[in-house]
């Protein structure tokens, strides 16, 4: 891989990570106790930081580091999740996104990030007021715990203190743990894993959810910690440690993604090594380091310890520019070994069964102990479901190890009281459900996806050709070819489906915008969404984000009133904005509603007349009145606010939605609120088109833009006095007529309008009629842009492959009208 490829990959990856981090932060804002979100967020920022460091992107690195520090404090319990901390993190995430986008060619971000870094640091310092939800609240002293720890004590001394302290005095225990963590920064993952487990244990003590014998559990954990610290880190973890970590192994739904992430990292560093890139060793080091971190947070002992060993092996050679073949072989074998461990974990979510052969060989070479395989084999999916249903991973591991042949794992756990009947049922239901849809994740480039779609489209066309010729010659072939055709069409549907993404990410951006707007305006707004899983085309999701963002800001700014005004109107002080999505046939409906002050059609009409956007005599319908807000130059807000008055009006929103071939419908009740309903085609890749013929050429127009098609009477098309153009009357309006043959320079087309067909098309600014020879039919066309190095008439919007394999041109009605 060359450096630009690294950069491209980093930009794509970092953007994904930051988007998901933002989502997790929004979750934390609502549910401060969501530790999964916290962990995932930490991992995301850690990965971004690592990538930025590797590419010497210092601004990103420093800011990500500052954010990571805060997240680390939050996840370790050293600080509680609070609104200002999350806000500081959100602001940092936004800046990081801008910085990452700047790498991809977006405008550079001026200035530096000192303000944000300071805010992040300060938000940790002002740690007195812990949020009520945090378990440590009642235990914390007025000063920060960071200051009260005794840095002089060695880890060993602290462990002794831990044992002496016991579990009666929880606040003291937490302080001691904090001290230990400070002393052990950068320690072996096994040690950190046990510390995390001890933290969890403290939480349980506080919440009184600890096991039957907390003293015993505590003793085991502390002993494990002592052994782990005493041992050469990472080399020879003793059995209790493994048990301790295994029991901290919380395999949330993030685990599958985490594994995919590690596999990605390993894969890319392998590619770099094979290509012999300079810096490949550094890349491998970074990958292994990240793998170690992720494995430790997921409680994967084998992976964490092996990664640690590989990392130590790489450390001495990472700076060297020359890579000797033997070292290269060793690194490649190590990466393979780690990859095997990752693959083994993927299904069950915990480390199960014997060590994979390659990993065991590497482990042997690096002196990492390999634990023996259990006798029984368990279904990885069942194990994962049991853990998800609330079983402790260590219990499951133990049960698997001692399972008799033919004995049922679930029953065994129920019998020994490790899980409840309810949990067992839940796990089994999950197995059944998962068996149905077992999704793995892969990152695929859009270009390759598009190639796939192209080729399948071509397959359909050639298949139709085969059908036509072969079926006539050999009738027996007909049914076989018919079946083949259905398969190919199914294939096409799947390929087009690959472009779809859930609308969730787009909705998350809106949540953020509402939060920011409400904060700035001193409003309280309750934002809820529904149908987050509704899928739509990736391009569409991206293009939709802008207009939707504008509408959402509008709703928060102009729709929802301030608290005082709301109370005066007899409404709750807290406003409500709701965003929902659902499928309706080939369309997606996105609905944005608020319970704000609504719009008054009469006021809108008066305003439009005053601005000269509407003749004084006009009497628009209610619907038409609402649509006035889409007119350029129309803004009802008395004063332009910082939030939504950026010179981008609803007219831009309308234009954006039109460009996506969508429609907006408005419903509003003064005093009650407004609802905007967006109806968009599921994908921008496929167009429902009407195919038109002019001589031997064919053109396509969007069916959605066709108003009517008429065969005109002789004389219906009239020359406009004093003009070149011609016009025709349709539904009471005079429309310009464009003879497509003239416009496109086609010879041999019908000359007289009455010999052909007039197709009336609607576009943003009005209607026009185009004269063609014939309407061929309707087609679902996969839109392909015109080649970039092929200059063309702007009236041609793109191309599509027709049923016979020829290329047809897609017309842009608005452009045709402009020159009519």
């Amino acid at each position: 891989m060359d450096p630009t490829e690294f950069l491209c990959e980093f930009v794509a990856e970092a953007a994904d990570h930051l988007a998901s981090a933002e989502g997790h932060l929004m979750t934390l804002r609502r549910q401060p106790e969501a530790t999964d979100a916290l962990q995932a967020c930490f991992r995301s920022l850690h990965t971004v930081k690592g990538g930025a460091a590797f590419l010497s992107q210092d601004r990103i690195k420093h800011l990500a580091h500052a954010a990571e520090q805060v997240l680390d404090a939050l996840r370790s319990g050293a600080a509680a999740v609070s609104e200002d901390r999350i806000d500081a993190l959100l602001d940092a995430t936004t800046r990081l996104q801008a910085l990452v986008q700047a790498l991809a060619g977006a405008p550079a971000v001026e200035g530096d990030d000192r303000d944000l870094v300071l805010t992040l640091e300060r938000c940790l310092e002002s740690g007195e007021e812990y949020a009520p939800a945090a378990p440590h609240q009642q235990t914390s002293t007025p000063t920060t715990r960071r200051e009260t720890r005794s840095p002089a004590l060695s880890p060993t001394a602290l462990i002794e203190a831990l044992l002496t302290n016991g579990i009666a005095d929880v606040p003291a225990l937490i302080q001691l743990l904090d001290g230990l963590r400070q002393g052990l920064t950068g320690a072996d993952p096994a040690v950190l894993g046990i510390l995390a487990r001890l933290d969890l244990f403290c939480d349980q003590l506080v919440l009184e959810t600890a096991g039957e014998d907390p003293r015993q559990e505590f003793a085991v954990l502390v002993e494990a910690l002592r052994t782990a610290i005493a041992k050469d880190p990472g080399r020879q973890p003793a059995e209790p440690i493994r048990a301790a970590i295994a029991s901290s192994g919380r395999t949330g739904p993030a685990a599958a993604e985490a594994m995919a992430e590690i596999a990605d990292l390993l894969g890319s560093s392998e590619a770099a090594l094979i290509d012999g890139n300079p810096g490949a060793v550094e890349a491998a080091f970074r990958a292994v380091h990240s793998a170690k971190g992720i494995a430790a947070t997921c409680g994967l002992t084998r992976l964490a310890t092996l990664a640690q060993a590989v990392e130590s092996e790489l450390e001495p050679v990472r700076q060297g520019t020359h890579l000797s073949p033997s070292v290269r072989t060793l690194i490649l074998a190590s990466l393979d070994g780690l990859g095997e461990l990752v693959a083994a974990v993927r299904d069950a979510g915990i480390e199960l069964g014997p060590w994979p052969a390659g990993a065991a060989a590497v482990a042997g070479r690096l002196g990492v102990a390999v634990d023996t395989a259990p006798a029984a084999v368990a279904d990885p999916l069942l194990v994962r479901s049991l853990v998800d249903a609330g079983a402790v991973a260590a219990d499951v591991s133990a049960a698997v190890h001692s399972l008799k042949p033919g004995e049922d794992l679930t029953q065994r756990l129920v019998k020994t009281g490790r899980i409840t009947q309810e949990q067992a049922a839940q796990a089994q239901a999950k197995v059944a459900q998962e068996a149905v849809r077992k999704d793995a994740f892969a990152r695929v480039s859009m270009t390759r996806l598009e190639e796939l779609v192209d080729l399948i489209g071509e397959l359909l066309i050639t298949q139709a050709g085969v059908m036509q010729h072969a079926a006539n010659a050999v009738p027996e072939l007909r049914s076989a070819i018919d079946r083949q055709g259905r398969t190919v069409r199914e294939l096409q549907a799947i390929a087009l489906g690959l472009r779809l993404v859930p609308i969730k990410a787009t909705f998350q951006k809106m949540a953020r915008a509402i939060l920011d707007t409400a904060r700035k305006l001193g409003k309280e707004i309750d934002f809820s969404t529904d149908g987050d899983d509704t899928e739509l085309d990736r391009n569409l999701a991206e293009t939709l984000a802008d207009p939707l963002l504008h509408m959402v800001r509008n709703a928060a700014d102009h729709g929802v009133e301030g608290p005082a005004e709301r109370i005066a109107a007899g409404k709750p002080a807290k406003g409500r904005i709701r965003l929902t999505a659902r499928h309706a046939g080939e369309h997606i409906m996105v609905e944005l509603s608020d319970d704000g002050k609504g719009m008054d059609p009469e006021r809108l009409v008066a305003k439009a007349k005053e601005k000269g956007l509407l003749p004084a005599s006009a009497t628009p319908t209610r619907e038409e009145a609402f649509n006035l807000i889409f007119a350029p130059g129309f803004s009802t807000a008395a004063k332009v606010s910082e939030v939504s008055g950026r010179g981008v009006g609803m007219d831009v929103v309308k234009r954006n939605v039109d460009s996506l071939r969508g429609r907006i419908e408005i419903r509003s009740e003064p005093g009650r609120g407004s609802t905007f309903i967006l109806r968009l085609p599921l994908t921008t890749a496929v167009l429902d088109a009407m195919v038109l013929r002019v001589a031997d050429r064919r053109f396509l127009v969007p069916v959605a833009s066709v108003v009517e098609a008429v065969k005109p009477e002789p004389g219906a098309v009239q020359a406009l006095a004093g003009h070149q153009g011609r016009v025709v009357q349709s539904r009471g309006r005079w429309l310009p007529v464009v003879r497509l043959a003239d416009r496109c320079g086609v010879a041999g087309a019908c000359d007289l309008p009455e010999d052909g067909v007039l197709v009336v098309l609607e576009h943003l600014a009005g209607r026009l009629a185009i004269q063609v020879d014939e309407i061929v039919g309707l087609q679902q066309a996969v839109i392909k842009p015109l080649p970039p190095d092929c200059p063309h008439d702007p009236g041609m919007a793109g191309t599509a492959i027709l049923g016979d394999g020829h290329v047809g041109l897609i017309l842009e009605p608005a452009q045709l009208a402009e020159d009519a």
Binding site: D789, C790, H792, M796, T799, V807, G808, L809
Partner: protein, 141 residues
């Protein structure tokens, strides 16, 4: 000028060459859809296995008289243009030829757009006009 390998083709009686490393494939003539508003040297676009690529009419590009369609007419798909591939329509393909340095002469001044010619390849008493295809493509649009 290194001694590269060239794919040679005919336009009328003249033999031209395009560097073989730039050639992706040779396809039989496909139905071409003219694109309104495009320069005259572009015949239009074709469907190359689901991809839409532009096709340049090399005769028109070089100001030669058009010829009658012939079954041996082909489209040579070359890499280049601003992105991806472009087809060039030629009368027919002739051979793959290598030229020693001694067979090559610098392009003459004048004649067809001199920048489009990389060199003249002389062998067996015949002259091939070896094209700088990326220049042929870019100068058209």
């Amino acid at each position: 000028m290194t001694a590269a390998t060239w794919l040679t083709f005919l336009l009328g009686d003249d033999e031209y060459g395009v560097e073989i490393l730039k050639v992706r494939e040779i396809i039989g003539m496909l139905p071409i859809t003219p694109v309104p508003g495009s320069p005259p040297s572009l015949d239009g676009v074709v469907n190359l296995r689901g991809r839409v690529i532009p096709v340049m009419n090399l005769r028109r590009r070089f100001g030669l008289a058009p010829s009658e369609p012939h079954p041996e007419n082909v489209i040579i798909v070359v890499e280049g243009g601003s992105k991806g591939a472009t087809g060039i329509a030629v009368d027919r393909v002739r051979e793959v030829a290598s030229f020693a340095d001694t067979d090559l002469e610098p392009p003459p001044a004048g004649g067809i757009d001199a920048n489009c010619v990389a060199a003249l390849g002389k062998r067996d008493g015949k002259v091939r006009i070896l094209l700088d295809i990326s220049h042929v493509l870019t100068a058209a649009s």
